[in-house]
């Protein structure tokens, strides 16, 4: 037990240390911009953790990150580098939204699963295309998923500006590109009055557990992992490698699609421009940070959710250009991800463990 505690303490210490390094580097940027770093960082770190608003918003961001991250983990584990989660997410959002509007009268218990299913199918289709291109025509999946992102984004814009635009926008002549409000029976419940945190978080965690089960406890997952680890041996065992590449991409895209539809019925309640906030790309970092493991992705997405809202709160508190906030966020991600080598590599680990535990640098020892 003591060992486990030590390990957790160690990991936390290293992560905090990496975080600190990033903040020190970031303070240079802030000083140049003429801002007091201490004040800025208080807004970025202390405020979100000690306010209901901050925590709620962190979870709101963690939900799509988690879903995308799980999907990315599946794809990367079968050696498909899926960069297309952003496009898959957008198509999932618009398909989910359309489904919810089409069956507006249905009861909640049917409509929410239906909406998520629509999101899954649209995202899965988009991911599956890249998988199919790879399997049949050996098209590099990095290339195809990036290109498919562009196409998805244009389809998305077309749909919310054209066929799916809110009739009210047309009637008033304002023409804001967004759909009608989702029917109440399609919406996730808000968990705290006045805050945006919604019950989609349970869906995301449930999916994480299901995917873990699927990958490690079923014959399907066995094949998927075998294909990713060593396609030659998978073929030798009689597995149709190409088929599983496509399936992995369908699942991966499908989860990004669910993330999209969850955003619609959980947060925005409409399909609108700028819905994604780059979750499709940040989700890749989350997945890698979570060791490409569905359960590891859960804490990773909370961490990144906090980071995102922290940056926003800092921007509002100290009134600095968003470019600086984004840079600092980048610094934090870079240094935290780099610190991973200390956590993973046993040799480094030993060195730092000595430093931390033997020299009693830490107040808790």
């Amino acid at each position: 037990m003591n060992k486990v505690i030590n390990k957790v303490l160690f990991n936390v210490t290293i992560l905090l240390f990496a975080f600190l390094v990033a903040l020190i580097l970031g303070s240079v940027i802030l000083l140049i911009a003429g801002v007091n770093p201490l004040f800025a960082y208080k807004a970025m770190i202390i405020n979100p953790i000690f306010s209901v608003y901050g925590l709620s918003e962190a979870v709101v961001r963690a939900i799509p990150l988690m879903l995308v991250g799980i999907g990315i983990s599946i794809a990367f584990r079968s050696k498909m580098i899926n960069i297309g989660a952003e496009g898959q997410l957008q198509l999932g959002a618009v398909a989910g939204g359309a489904m919810a509007l089409a069956f507006a009268g249905a009861p909640k218990i049917i409509l929410i699963p239906l909406t998520l299913l629509a999101g899954f199918m649209a995202g899965g289709l988009w991911g599956g295309i890249a998988g199919w291109l790879k399997a049949k025509l050996s098209v590099n999946e990095v290339l195809s998923t990036v290109m498919l992102n562009y196409i998805a984004f244009q389809i998305y814009l077309y749909l919310i500006r054209g066929p799916l635009i809110d009739p009210a926008e047309l009637a008033y002549g304002t023409g804001v590109p967004q759909t009608q409000r989702m029917p109440d029976s399609a919406l996730f419940d808000r968990l705290i009055l006045g805050q945006r945190i919604h019950s989609g978080i349970f869906v995301a965690i449930l999916i994480a557990i299901l995917v873990y089960y699927l990958l490690w406890k079923t014959s399907f997952g066995f094949r998927l992992r075998a294909v990713g680890e060593e396609p030659k041996a998978a073929k030798y065992a009689g597995i149709k490698v190409n088929k599983y590449l496509v399936l992995a991409m369908i699942l991966s895209g499908g989860l990004a699609g669910i993330a999209g539809s969850v955003e619609v019925i959980g947060v925005h309640h409409r399909v609108l421009e700028g819905l994604s906030a780059n979750y499709g790309f940040t989700g890749i970092v989350v997945a890698l940070f979570g060791s490409l493991h569905p359960i590891g992705v859960i804490p990773a997405s909370f961490f990144f959710g906090l980071l995102l809202i922290g940056a926003e709160m800092m921007q509002r508190a100290v009134d600095i250009p968003s470019a600086i906030v984004i840079s600092i966020q980048g610094l934090v991600i870079l240094s935290v991800v780099s610190s991973n080598i200390i956590l993973r590599n046993p040799a480094y680990r030993k060195k730092f463990e000595k430093l931390i535990f033997n020299k009693k640098l830490l107040f808790w020892r």
């Binding site: 079923t218 014959s219 060593e230 041996a233 998978a234």
Partner: protein, 505 residues
């Protein structure tokens, strides 16, 4: 740089977490002498050499050169002292030329310009002087394994090595290339070169070395002048017990033909005809050996039978059904086992746990799996039994497979294929790179399967293995079966001639 007249490693101890890889190991090699370092996989040979080459620091012990203590902290240190190492897996960039590969390790005076012509000239000179002919302008990818090895040696010599460590240099060589290498080593030591020759092939060791040092479980167990020992004694010291390679007992009754290859044509990866109308028939309870210099279609033969490679023409009947171009899964289900040549990347998924690789072909079947859900309890108990039964040495069944030694990976594959009760088995190079203890075991198991009526197609280039195990031996040459001999009529010289493509009469 001084010449190395003697090199000593004294009381070397190296501990890794949980294992002692070397314990008080002592070796001494003089210039003009070949010392063979012998030991099974995991005996600590490679660790010892990595210490000598500066890749590891020993926990205890010293290295002495010409009687003086030296510290070797990095491969660069080792090279500066005159120690050159040729690794088992070559460290060459395939898309560069010989000259460029050698130049990679040179610190040129001018940092922005490499004078490759000077390098090429020196390579030529070194080659002529040491009888190591390679074209400095050839690309590595165009060279044979033997030639690549020469490049590695030249690289070491270029950097001033006058002491060579050869780590399993013959593992990937053909028998002819091996003979050449041995001759070359005997020649080069006349110039006061010291050589450490690491191997577990006993015959080569007795041919090449002046003295032998045997390691077992990280300790010196035996050291002897080569001319005062023999293969059997070395085998015994290496394994720590008597080794007796089993041989096939003659029988006259075989079962029906189970696998029949008829006039099969197939292309190689390069698109040339690799199999040109090959025909053979394997009976139940028979071991049919396929002899041949590698590259004559053995790989393709194994692959067409097991469904990996497209057959352009011809028939393959397995249990009276034509399985040409059927799916791999289908052929597995019909009861054809396969021990592939590339054991780590094809026979197993290297990143998978031992238990996952043990069920690699059975994970779909009850009781391993029911309604797509794997049954962990049954899998665990099954795998624990198998690991014990087949003596697969691994810390536990959750260890990643790539952490196992070659012999144990091969036992894992063997156990998986045999426990599925195959009707026939294609075994490609089952003992390549495997140590003597494991060879004995693998051969026993193959013979046991034969006696249980399994038909075995044994593809190998080790003549000894063929003669020990086979009921009949077919010689493959340029994609065709040149001749098939009854085992009792086959001799090494007969096979050697046939393998070279010469058919008497």
């Amino acid at each position: 740089m001084n010449k190395i007249l003697s090199l000593e490693m004294v009381n070397i101890t190296k501990r890794f977490p949980g294992v002692i890889a070397n314990q008080d190991v002592n070796i001494k090699v003089n210039a003009g002498e070949v010392m063979a370092l012998l030991g099974e996989n995991g005996a600590g040979k490679t660790t010892l050499m990595n210490i000598l080459y500066g890749l590891y620091n020993p926990n205890e012990g010293d290295i002495l050169i010409n009687g003086k203590k030296v510290k070797i902290r990095s491969p660069q240190n080792a090279l500066d002292l005159g120690i050159g190492m040729v690794h088992q897996h070559f460290m060459l960039v395939p898309s560069l030329t010989v000259t460029e590969n050698v130049a990679l390790g040179i610190n040129f005076k001018n940092k922005f310009k490499m004078d490759l012509k000077v390098v090429a000239d020196k390579i030529k000179k070194l080659g002529e002087k040491n009888n190591l002919n390679v074209d400095p302008n050839a690309y590595i990818s165009q060279l044979s394994v033997g030639e690549q090895q020469r490049v590695e040696i030249i690289k070491a010599l270029y950097h001033g090595a006058n002491f060579l460590v050869l780590d399993e240099p013959t593992a990937a060589l053909t028998p002819q290339e091996t003979d050449q290498l041995i001759k070359w080593i005997r020649e080069i030591i006349k110039d006061d070169m010291g050589v450490i020759f690491i191997s577990h092939k006993l015959k080569e060791v007795t041919e090449v070395s002046d003295k032998v040092e045997v390691l077992r479980d990280g300790k010196n167990v035996f050291s002897v002048q080569t001319n005062k020992t023999n293969v059997d004694e070395l085998a015994r010291e290496m394994a720590g017990r008597d080794i007796e390679l089993p041989t096939v007992d003659k029988k006259n009754e075989f079962g029906d033909v189970v696998l029949k290859v008829e006039d099969v044509w197939a292309k190689s990866d390069k698109g040339t005809d690799a199999l040109k109308g090959i025909s053979l028939a394997l009976k139940k309870g028979e071991i049919l050996g396929i002899a041949g210099v590698s590259g004559n279609g053995q790989k393709e033969l194994a692959e067409v039978i097991t469904g990996f490679r497209k057959v352009n023409k011809g028939k393959i009947n397995f249990k009276d059904e034509n399985i040409v171009n059927k799916s791999i899964q289908y052929i597995i289900d019909q009861g054809l086992g396969f021990i592939p040549e590339d054991r780590l990347h094809m026979g197993t998924v290297p990143g998978f746990k031992v238990k996952e690789n043990l069920i690699l072909k059975d994970y779909l079947k009850y009781p391993f799996c029911k309604n797509f859900i794997l049954k962990p309890k049954y899998i665990e108990s099954y795998c624990k039994t198998t690991v014990d039964e087949y003596d697969i040495k691994c810390p536990n069944i959750n260890t990643p497979t790539h952490a196992l030694s070659g012999g144990n990976i091969q036992k894992l594959i063997l156990s998986r294929e045999l426990k599925r009760n195959p009707v026939a088995l294609v075994a490609s190079y089952p003992i390549r790179g495997v140590d003597i203890g494991a060879i004995e075991y693998i051969h026993e198991k193959l013979l046991e399967a034969r006696n249980n009526d399994v038909g075995i197609l044994l593809i190998t280039e080790e003549l000894e293995e063929l003669l020990n195990l086979s009921d009949r031996i077919a010689v493959i040459y340029e994609g065709k079966i040149l001749d098939i001999l009854e085992a009792d009529k086959a001799t090494k010289s007969k096979l050697g001639l046939l393998m070279a493509g010469v058919k008497e009469g």
